[in-house]
Symmetry: C2
Subunit: 254 residues, 2 copies
């Protein structure tokens, strides 16, 4: 398919590379900053533009991979005679934001993208939604060409998926940061807990997380919890976090 | 070396198997329940006992792998003429609990053990502490025979290590459980976030967690955070957790 990318950040970059590898043609890359558009466009021999009125009218799919906050304003500037399917890539934005357009949908890859780290796109789940039923076949074909895990979900489900990802990924990473800080301030290397982090992640590939729960809270080992809280007295936020997480583990009574 | 195991739970089992594989001889297994002692002892052709006065007096190392709460009472019952090094395996218990004995120390493997899941002991960090300096060589030799990551740490550092493990492992797993619950109640499979969980864990093998932080909180994307909080209104605990974790991410201002 002929694809136009609107955006030049992490999602646009990783998605563009995966689509090009999947045999599609990236024809244009739009960014507000021409330099950024060019950097990405040069990877595909695509045309870089910073003026949205210069969009080609005909492409199979236009992918809006801009910040969530910018979607609405970019949609407002799109030429309404666009003859192609326009999709956004946002977990938190309802499909309706694209309703001024004729054919539209959502193409949401559920992954955390960093500029410096390559990802295996075939393992990344892609959530699809389309306004016209006919267009779903186009999205499915595009998604299957780069990923093995393609599924339909509506805007409300996609938002749940996004919150779940915040808990399982962003908040989890913050707990790693807390652990790293505690260790480093006591002359210990964060490397020491890395095998534990990998084991914890690998466990839930085969076990339900509720079944895999270990530690003082689920054992109701109050003596240990008290020791921990006393050590954390210099960090009231983490003490509070410790109490809340422990209480929630106990409330769920595995 | 000749090793006696006191305890028959997950730590005793995994440690015993690793030591036997490392060429040591497990001579006795003690448990309050003879059936449990036998189950484990049979794996090593060791003698199972449930009467602590029947302990062999001579072994190189006696490993106390019982619940933290039980250590003190087991120490109280140990024959004081024991001629060998006695170590406990607890992250949260100071070395002093063993002070009624002659030669003592700590042998703390930093990992989460489940009965059903084998672990690669060579990658598990083992923290050592000994009362007499001479005995450190014995502990080092024993630890190096089963693990590639052996280090010294005192009782205060070991407690910090244990808290860090609770944040990086137990609390992290609970966040996975929250994500699984949210997904399942919205008709979505937890499988969908598993690639994200693995990517999040793998990232911190090479990146500092503070650098790896992504998501709405670190971007200060208030619109998304408000949407998430509104979705979580039926779960006041998780709403509270969301606010606390987001505020802490922002407080640390990566």
């Amino acid at each position: 398919m002929d694809v136009v990318l609107l955006g030049s950040g992490n999602v646009a970059t990783h998605l563009g590379l995966a689509l090009a590898k999947g045999g599609h043609r990236i024809v244009q890359v739009y960014s507000r900053t021409l330099g950024n558009a060019s950097l990405l466009a040069n990877q595909f021999q695509a045309v870089a533009i910073d003026d949205i009125t210069q969009l080609v009218a005909q492409a199979d799919v236009f992918i809006l991979a801009v910040n969530d906050d910018a979607i609405e304003s970019v949609v407002g500037k799109l030429p309404l005679d666009i003859d192609g399917l326009v999709v956004h890539t946002s977990g938190t934005t309802a499909i309706d934001v694209l309703s001024p357009l004729g054919r539209y949908g959502v193409f949401y890859p559920l992954q955390t993208f960093s500029k410096s780290k390559e990802v295996d796109f075939r393992a990344i789940p892609i959530a699809l939604e389309s306004h016209h039923e006919d267009d779903m076949a186009v999205l499915e074909s595009l998604a299957h060409s780069i990923s093995d895990v393609v599924f339909h979900c509506d805007s409300a489900q996609r938002l749940t998926l996004h919150i779940a990802a915040v808990f399982a990924c962003n908040f989890t990473n913050h707990l790693f940061a807390v652990a790293a800080d505690l260790l480093q301030h006591n002359g210990l290397s964060f490397d020491l807990v890395k095998p534990l982090v990998m084991e914890t992640a690998e466990k839930i590939l085969t076990l339900d997380p509720a079944e895999a729960q270990t530690g003082p809270a689920v054992r109701d080992d109050r003596k240990t919890m008290e020791k921990h809280l006393s050590i954390l007295r210099e960090h009231p936020n983490w003490q509070h976090l410790y109490q809340l997480l422990s209480a929630d583990i106990q409330r769920n009574k595995y």
